[in-house]
């Protein structure tokens, strides 16, 4: 902003990202995961579903007896684990992002209504969230998945619909605080209509907490998907998911640990990366930091 000099300057967000170690790490991890999801057919060295009985349970390349052709080893059917992990990122990303969007939209709408208008509407919405809260999320998801056809769509729906209460509560409490702020009162005395107060004064000021919670929720959604797939209720073979891989590998944990451990590490890293990025985003979007670099 200050120097429009001759030399090229990185955009502000990139400069700020560069300075934050964890933010950068998160950004790199998430970028890799997104790239894997988008370009899986080009990145994966093998067909992830190619069964190769000759190369069953090969250890990773860095271990004794490992084959450099299979970087992270192979599983009990001779699938290349790396290729499967790259394809599995698709399922995780799609479910993580879509279910969070679904939960975020529903939850934000209800949270805004409850917080802004208060009264009976608030009581009703909050009692509904209480009711939702009393049902174990996984249990509900399991029942829903058994009733409907297992697949990506069902998982998004189930994880999204069980996740909205977090948003509703967060947004409601933020709106309650904001409503008492004098700039909202000023808008009321100006005569600004409710929908404009919500759009210009309330929503922009809940956005940063929304983002932080959302990134966290992407991580939990991915874990939820993995758990369901691990239990055999999520993604069904031949579709590939990290949860399914974990599940398949657990029988070999004692003898061929890498079959379950590789997807486990991938999952942990991805979740951690998303959370780092979320934390950095929160700091970045705080307007008090806008002048700083």
């Amino acid at each position: 902003m200050k120097q429009k000099g001759k030399s090229y300057r990185m955009p502000r967000w990139l400069r700020m990202l560069w300075r934050s170690k964890t933010g950068l790490l998160g950004f790199v991890i998430v970028s890799i995961a997104v790239a894997c999801a988008l370009f899986a057919p080009w990145l994966a060295p093998y067909d992830p579903n190619a069964i190769n009985p000759l190369n069953m349970l090969k250890p990773p390349a860095f271990m004794a007896g490992g084959d450099p052709a299979f970087l992270l080893g192979t599983d009990n059917l001779g699938h290349d684990i790396l290729s499967r992990l790259i394809y599995g990122a698709r399922v995780s990303m799609i479910i993580g992002v879509l279910s969070v969007i679904l939960a975020g939209v529903i939850g934000t709408a209800f949270g805004l209504l409850a917080g802004y208008y208060g009264g009976i509407l608030d009581s009703v919405i909050m009692r509904v969230t209480d009711a939702f809260h009393s049902i174990p999320r996984m249990l509900l998801a399991m029942v829903a998945v058994t009733l409907m056809r297992a697949g990506i769509g069902t998982l998004v729906l189930v994880i999204g619909i069980t996740g909205w209460i977090t948003y509703a509560r967060l947004i409601r409490s933020e709106v309650l605080v904001l409503k008492e702020r004098e700039f909202v009162k000023a808008a009321v005395t100006i005569g600004t209509p409710d929908y404009k107060i919500i759009c210009y004064h309330i929503l922009p000021n809940v956005f940063s907490s929304f983002i932080v919670v959302s990134t966290l929720a992407v991580a939990t959604s991915i874990i939820a998907e993995t758990s369901l797939s691990f239990l055999g209720l999520g993604i069904q073979p031949p579709d590939i998911s990290w949860g399914g891989m974990l599940s398949a590998g657990r029988n070999y944990l004692a003898t061929n640990w890498w079959v379950a451990t590789m997807p486990g590490i991938t999952l942990t890293m991805t979740v951690l990366g998303i959370m780092f990025l979320g934390n950095w985003l929160r700091d970045f979007m705080d307007p008090h930091n806008q002048g700083l670099e």
Binding site: F183, V188, Q290
Partner: protein, 335 residues
Amino acid sequence: MAEEYLLEIRHLDKFFTVKGGGPWKKPEILRAVSDVSFCLKEGETLGIVGESGCGKSTLGNTIIRLLEPTSGEILFQGKDLAKMKKRELAKYRPDMQMIFQDPYSSLNPRMRVFDIIAEPLRTHHVLAGEDLRKRVLELMTVVGLDVSYASRYPHEFSGGQRQRIGIARALALRPKLIICDEPVSALDVSIQAQILNLLRQLQEKFHLTYIFIAHGLPSVRHISSKIAVMYLGKMVEMTSRDQLFAAPMHPYTLGLFEAIPIPDPSFRKPEEDREILQGDIPNALHPPSGCYFHPRCPYAREECRTREPVLEEKQPGHFVACHYPISIKESDKKA
């Protein structure tokens, strides 16, 4: 009586129900503003003074309908705002604006200064495009802000500058009445005078009427034409500024005068002659019997404990709610 008042408040009440502890306790009623009446002519400034918790801000918020009045009338140019529906009220919003106490909370941190000042104009579709831009920059100049700051965010400004932004926003729609809710109490002392002077200049320039809420007499002295003193939700004294400063009649007002610090302590009256207010403001949920002020009043007699005084015109233009107001002679002696 034939005189046109810009604002006339008649028996305005604002009660809050406070839920008791637990479901079996009856909710209690907090009388934040009770039976307040006053009139204000165009161009006048009414200063409202009282300790924190006396209901002065609630009164301001109720007049501008940020809070729903419990009962009473708010006649603005003869129209009763108190019972108006939201839709209808919107037409009168531009005529009445507010300047808030805390400049750190009164500006949306995610809006640029330009948009903050433009919001009232956009909301009421007064101006658009280049005209809007000109008007906003003009408003910034009027309140003493550099126009080059228009695209900055509020956090880049000091408290005094933020308050100027808030004033520009309040002025944008050319209101007739501005309610100033302790507009300088959050500012540095050195900045307070600047903002007060600005408000006075603007009053002359735009022929504004102010309701100026403050917790001490010194800050309303220079700006007010009339002063009302509130205690526990009621008005205890109201008169012209000069009359009030020359001869306060309510013991509470006198107490407020004694609380004003004197620049040179050697000019201070001897301790035994001063009527320093003792104790704290009582709990508004359970106000004292009779005159609310009697437990702290040095002149309290038996009657004060039992019978509640009403606001009466004890002298022409001088309203006091006290059974035994300080006589003119007595306050002369004190002065």
